[in-house]
Symmetry: C2
Subunit: 226 residues, 2 copies
């Protein structure tokens, strides 16, 4: 148990292939804003660490010829203490964090594959939900917060109802409801920079300052009450 005055903790899982991108700068600004708000911040950089995103039988104990059923193998691995080491490390980070931040460019109105594969492998049945846990409010992360921090190619207007793409909330539903709320998180308003690819230096600085302000609000809203 954390002591009454332990610093809150944030885990940022970042997925952009270019360290010099606006997206990566946005992540760094968010990390600093969280530190400035008193958080201990842990950053997992999926591209830099070459995260393997494909859930497959090879990460589990030998099946002895049995048909591979991913969730059954996850339950077995939790029970037997045989979770893949790389997965176990991420599960422990997730369980230790008061706030989970998924940081990414919105690719095809969803997570980049490397981040989707972090969810596929790390949101382990039996550890975060299912088994002794339930789903949604009864899952392991209940009482904690999560937030999406992303960049888009399209403009803010394109993501409005009646816009060229459609309402942003409808695109995010599968992540907010299907991934984050499913394992118990309370989901905070996403922090988004629209179309940063073509900003000049001045506009980029303004956009990053907006991110800093928004994440400062996130930090307050995610602060655990203990």
């Amino acid at each position: 148990m954390p002591t009454f005055d332990a610093a809150p903790t944030a885990l940022i899982v970042h997925a952009h292939p270019e360290p010099r991108s606006f997206n990566s700068a946005q992540m760094a600004v968010a990390a600093q804003a969280l530190r400035d708000a008193g958080y201990q911040v842990d950053v997992v950089d999926l591209y830099a660490s070459d995260w393997a995103p494909v859930l497959a039988a090879a990460e589990f104990a030998p099946l002895g010829g049995q048909v591979f059923k991913p969730q059954a193998e996850q339950m077995r691995a939790v029970r037997d203490g045989t979770l893949d080491e790389a997965v176990k490390e991420q599960v422990d980070k997730v369980l230790a964090a008061d706030l989970l931040v998924l940081s990414f460019p919105l690719w095809w109105f969803s997570l980049p594959a490397v981040l989707k594969g972090w969810v596929d492998r790390v949101f382990v049945m039996g550890a975060l939900f299912g088994g002794e846990h339930g789903f949604f409010d009864a899952a392991a992360l209940a009482g904690k917060h999560a937030v999406l921090l992303f960049t888009t190619g399209g403009s803010h207007e394109m993501f409005q109802p009646g816009g060229a793409f459609g309402p942003q909330d409808e695109f995010l539903f599968h992540i907010h409801r299907g991934m984050l709320e499913f394992v118990g998180y309370q989901v905070l308003d996403p922090v988004v920079s629209y179309g940063p690819a073509h900003l000049d230096d001045e506009a980029r600085a303004v956009a990053l300052e907006e991110v800093r302000k928004a994440v400062t609000v996130t930090a307050e809203n995610a602060r655990p009450s203990r």
Copy 2:
């Protein structure tokens, strides 16, 4: 140009780690139903072919120290004829198919990472949309059809409005609208088997027969008018 009486063509992109799963059996039944309806069927098995899902700078021509912007590099690769060979092969298959079938288990209310990474890498800006093409109805696959063929862990009831999960259509919106319609496809009703993991042999045979019937309808609705 196809001749007036050329057989219609279907591309099935399949993403399940277990060839003996219900999901893989469902894909095989769908492929046969399409053949029986007169289609030429091409199957890409992403797990069997060890598809690399992570879009990264390494697949493009050397950047010479420039910041990596994925879509700009895709446009450049199309223009210069330097698309990665594995990607080019898939793009050509997509462009040649009258019907695209994405076959997968619904993981976290979305595509498994390996299939998301097929979309990330193969739905190339400049080839399927953007550049000389537009988006949605003006994109390269306009006039063609796509359909999702998937299995779920949860029951049909859980995917209803007011059900434990929420409306299936809302979860699928990011795929239907954000991926398939975005590149021009007309999206047909998904073909879904709910919770097949625990079916006995008899119920499994019934479920596969339902798939065969549904895909036969899909085949008629996707038939090109030429």
